[in-house]
Every structure is written in structure tokens, then in C-alpha cells.
């Protein structure tokens, strides 16, 4: 009752939620949630405690969270400027560039990993040079996992943020310019805060995608417990011998990611 002029007003004002929106929305929700219900029903609850007491599980989980978060960080640092470039400047071939950015989504995961190896592997285009000049090898390292995850996750961020930028009113940037803000300052202090919900959405997508990443990671970074074995790899391998364990591990992964996403303050996802 006290927050009378924030969100609840909207819900109140509109009184009834139109059926034509509510129905498909609920159907969509059921469609997304039902399979999870299936997993929960099937889950080997009695075996759960013993699964969870295994330190290997926690290692994989920790590694997953660290790598997914780092990959999201890399995506933000490189992807937000890229989105800005696509949305706010005009250059020949911009549409081709935008299409290229989405390609990692289309690439079958294993091929993605192979592509990464061809570029950054020991004998890759750039990797060869990284190796000989700096002695850096990326495959089979935790950094490699982050790279593989960023490769598949960044496009989500770029496309989301570009959409948000295009929907934002560029006249606020003009107002900032007349106050002496360089394009960079205007971007940092005006545009970015204004499109925070879009960036938030993109980051959530990228994070979740990175957390679930499997194909490119195992191909590029390999699978070594404690170093490059993330939860999805552990789940995949468990599936080979013991599907119940695999389902149990998946549920752990899901539970943790729900906890993180619910814990995200609404502030990251809403307008000022």
C-alpha cells in the first residue's frame, strides 16, 4: 500500500489480466517447467545425500560457477562495446557483421570447439603464435574453459544489448553531448544505466548459457576434474554409466542456478 506509485500500481490499474495473454503465457510456462517436473519425479532422491557428499561434485560445481561468471565478465567487457558499435554507428557491412556475431549460436557445439582449436589451439592460426611468442597454451586449461564458454555465450549478450540500445532514445545521448560528455562518457554515464535492464537480461542469458555449455568446452578445453571438468561434462559422463547420478547432478546444477538467479536483485532487471 505504501509503494503506491511503483509496480503494484500497474497491476492494480489494469485490474484484469487479459486472457489472450495469460493463456499462452501459462502454456509457455508449463512447457518450460514440465520437463523439469519430470526430472524431479524421476530423481533418485534416496541416492542424493551420497551424491552430494562427494567432493568431486563440489569441485565441478565450483569450477562451473567460476568459469560461467568469468565468461559472462569477458562477454560484458567485449560484448557491450560491440553491441554499441552495431547499434550506434553506421559502416558498410554492418549487417554482415551482426550476422557473423550470431554464428557461434548456429555452430554445432563440437564444431565450435574444433573451430576454437583451429584458431587458438597449439597449431591454430593465433594459438601457434601465442605458444611460440609467449608460451601460452589455452587448450586443456581453465582459461580455455572460460574462452569456450565466452565464445558460445557472448553472442547472446551482444544481440540482447544491441536490441536494448536500438530501443533506447538516442536524444539522451545528444543531451549529454551538449553538456560536454564525449561519446564514451555519454555511453558510460547515460546510455548504459538507461539500458541496464537489457544488459541485465543479456548477462543472465550469457551466464546461463555458459553454465550449461558442453560441446565447445569439452572439445576445446578437454575434461579434467578440478581443472576443466565443469558440471555439464560431469553430467554427461555420469550419463554414460549411471543415469540416476546424471540426473542428480543436473538437479544440483539447476538448484544452484535458480538460487543465483533468484538472488539477483530486481534492480539489475528493471528501469530506474
Amino acid at each position: 500500500m505504501r509503494l503506491i506509485d511503483t509496480a503494484p500500481v500497474r497491476a492494480k490499474r489494469g485490474s484484469r489480466i487479459p486472457l489472450a495473454l495469460l493463456l499462452p503465457a501459462l502454456l509457455g510456462l508449463v512447457f518450460l517447467v514440465l520437463p523439469l517436473a519430470g526430472l524431479l519425479i524421476r530423481a533418485p532422491w534416496s541416492a542424493m545425500p551420497s551424491e552430494l557428499s562427494s567432493p568431486a561434485v563440489w569441485d565441478a560445481l565450483r569450477l562451473s560457477l567460476i568459469c560461467a561468471t568469468s565468461a559472462t565478465g569477458v562477454s560484458l567487457v567485449l560484448g557491450v562495446p560491440l553491441a554499441w558499435l552495431l547499434a550506434r554507428t553506421e559502416f558498410p557491412g554492418r549487417r554482415v557483421i551482426r550476422a557473423l556475431v550470431t554464428l557461434p549460436l548456429v555452430l554445432p557445439p563440437v564444431v565450435g570447439g574444433v573451430a576454437l582449436l583451429l584458431a587458438l589451439g597449439r597449431n591454430g592460426i593465433v594459438g601457434r603464435w601465442l605458444d611460440s611468442a609467449f608460451g601460452i597454451t589455452l587448450p586443456f586449461t581453465t582459461t580455455g574453459v572460460v574462452i569456450a564458454e565466452a565464445f558460445v555465450a557472448m553472442p547472446f549478450l551482444v544481440i540482447s544489448v544491441e536490441g536494448a540500445l536500438r530501443a533506447a532514445d538516442p536524444r539522451y545521448e545528444e543531451a549529454a553531448a551538449t553538456l560536454g560528455a564525449s561519446r564514451l562518457t555519454a555511453f558510460r554515464r547515460v546510455t548504459l544505466p538507461m539500458i541496464a535492464p537489457g544488459v541485465g537480461a543479456g548477462a543472465v542469458l550469457a551466464w546461463a548459457r555458459a553454465l550449461g555449455e558442453f560441446g565447445a568446452t569439452i572439445t576445446f578445453a578437454g575434461n579434467f576434474p578440478g581443472k576443466t571438468q565443469t558440471m555439464p561434462l560431469a553430467v554427461y559422463l555420469a550419463m554414460e554409466t549411471d543415469p540416476d547420478t546424471a540426473i542428480a547432478l543436473s538437479l544440483v546444477l539447476l538448484a544452484v542456478s535458480i538460487a543465483v538467479l533468484v538472488g539477483l536483485r530486481d534492480r539489475w532487471m528493471s528501469t530506474p
Binding site: R122, I218, F224, T228, E240
Partner: protein, 250 residues
């Protein structure tokens, strides 16, 4: 499940006679769920079977053995399941989803795969243990991994691989691309790579042979076809195709 196998599963010659006897009954579409590593050979077998049994169509669903096993347990409309390891077949038999007892139809032996020309000149399992050698092994959860582990134990070699791969192909890819110096994989895979990698035999391989079981699926839509196809795989003609690809008769 091995205690259940009462039929003489391991006789190629007698099998082929049985197969030709039961073959004519097969009609319609036969759906075969097969391990991805069988793709090449089973595609061949399928064509030959269709030629030998006019009016039949063989449809293959290739995938990871375990994913296939999950599909079947969940009610996939399969007639035949050919797995890459007894362990995955066990998932299905445990769920009582096989109509016949699984039979081992081929076996596969290990080899060391090295980049073409064997630049590091690796000739034995022991050589892989050198710190300067980067090795990719299969994870122990998958058949090639557990077999490799058995061989390594038999050889008394302790080595730390850089990665435990999810399947043979990805281990092999890393050898092909030169990302690792060696891997322990199946002979069939080295052969399929068609000269892009070299294979090195090692004696301990004999202790770690992998069996490929095949079985008719319970509630198979085309039970007769399934039996005919299994018989054909086990026939001399079938074995010829399989051994040509590097598999060994059981």
C-alpha cells in the same frame, strides 16, 4: 547379465547359417538404434540387408550409446539396439526393455593414436608417461576409457592425461589437430581416420578388449525384422563388413 546368456552367442559360422534361414520372413521398416561408432559399417550393412531382403527398409538412429539407451528406456520405437559397451546395454536390460538377451557381435582393440608420422616417436604405453608427452584419454565412464585404464594398469604405467575425453572421436580429433601427442583409442577409429593419424599397437591391448552387444528391443514394432537384422549382422557377410573396418569377430 552375462549369467543370463545361455545361448551360444559367440559362433560366427553357425550364426550365419541361422541367419540365412530366418531372413526371408523380414518385411517393412526396421528401426535400428546404433552407437555412433558403428555409423560407417552399419550404413553398409543396412544397404546389403535391404538388397538381400527386398521390401525391407532399415532406418538407423545413431547417437551416443547412453543417450540411445535413455531413449529406449523412455519408450523410443526401436527394433534393434546395438551398443558400444555392455554397460550401456545393461541400462536397457535392467529396465527389462530387451526382448532377447544381448549378444556380443564384435569386439574392438586399443591402439595408440599419434599424429601422422609419429613425430615424438612413441612406440609403447610406457613412452606416454614421459612428462613432455601430452596424452588425451577417454574418460573412464566411457568404454574406451575403462579399457585404456585396464591396459595401463596391466602395463604398470601411471600417467596423467591432459584430458579425459567424452568419446573416442574427440580424443582422436585432438591427435589429428596436433593438440596432444598421443591418445589411446580403438583400432577401428584409427582406421576410419584414413591416414590422418598413425596407429601404434601395444601388447597390453589384449587385456582390454571392448565388446559390442546387440539385442532386440522389447515391444519392438517389427520384431521379425529385428531378429532378421541381428542375424544378418552376425552372418559371415556381416562380419566381413565389420572386420574390414577394423573390428574383430567375438
Amino acid at each position: 547379465s552375462s549369467s543370463k546368456s545361455t545361448t551360444p552367442a559367440a559362433s560366427g559360422a553357425s550364426g550365419s547359417a541361422a541367419a540365412s534361414a530366418s531372413a526371408p520372413k523380414a518385411t517393412g521398416t526396421i528401426t535400428v538404434f546404433a552407437a555412433a561408432s558403428l555409423t560407417g559399417t552399419f550404413n553398409d550393412l543396412g544397404k546389403k540387408f535391404e538388397a538381400a531382403n527386398p521390401g525391407t527398409t532399415v532406418k538407423f538412429n545413431y547417437g551416443g550409446s547412453s543417450a540411445l539407451a535413455q531413449s529406449i528406456v523412455s519408450g523410443a520405437p526401436a527394433d534393434v539396439f546395438a551398443a558400444a559397451s555392455p554397460a550401456t546395454m545393461k541400462t536397457v536390460t535392467d529396465a527389462k526393455d530387451t526382448a532377447t538377451d544381448p549378444k556380443v557381435f564384435v569386439r574392438n582393440t586399443l591402439e595408440i593414436a599419434v599424429p601422422k608420422g609419429n613425430p615424438k616417436n612413441l612406440t609403447s604405453l610406457q613412452a606416454l608417461a614421459a612428462p613432455s608427452v601430452k596424452v588425451a584419454l577417454c574418460a573412464t565412464q566411457v568404454p574406451c576409457g575403462s579399457a585404456a585404464q585396464t591396459a595401463l594398469t596391466a602395463a604398470g604405467v601411471k600417467l596423467t592425461p591432459v584430458t579425459l575425453e567424452q568419446d573416442v572421436k574427440s580424443a582422436l580429433t585432438k591427435v589429428e589437430l596436433g593438440e596432444v601427442d598421443a591418445s589411446v583409442v580403438y583400432q577401428t577409429d584409427v582406421q576410419a581416420a584414413g591416414g590422418k593419424v598413425d596407429g601404434v599397437n601395444f601388447p597390453e591391448a589384449a587385456k582390454a578388449i571392448n565388446d559390442y552387444p546387440i539385442a532386440e528391443v522389447a515391444k519392438a514394432p517389427n520384431a521379425a525384422g529385428a531378429a532378421a537384422f541381428i542375424a544378418f549382422v552376425e552372418s559371415t557377410e556381416g562380419m566381413q563388413v565389420l572386420t574390414a573396418a577394423g573390428f574383430q569377430a567375438p
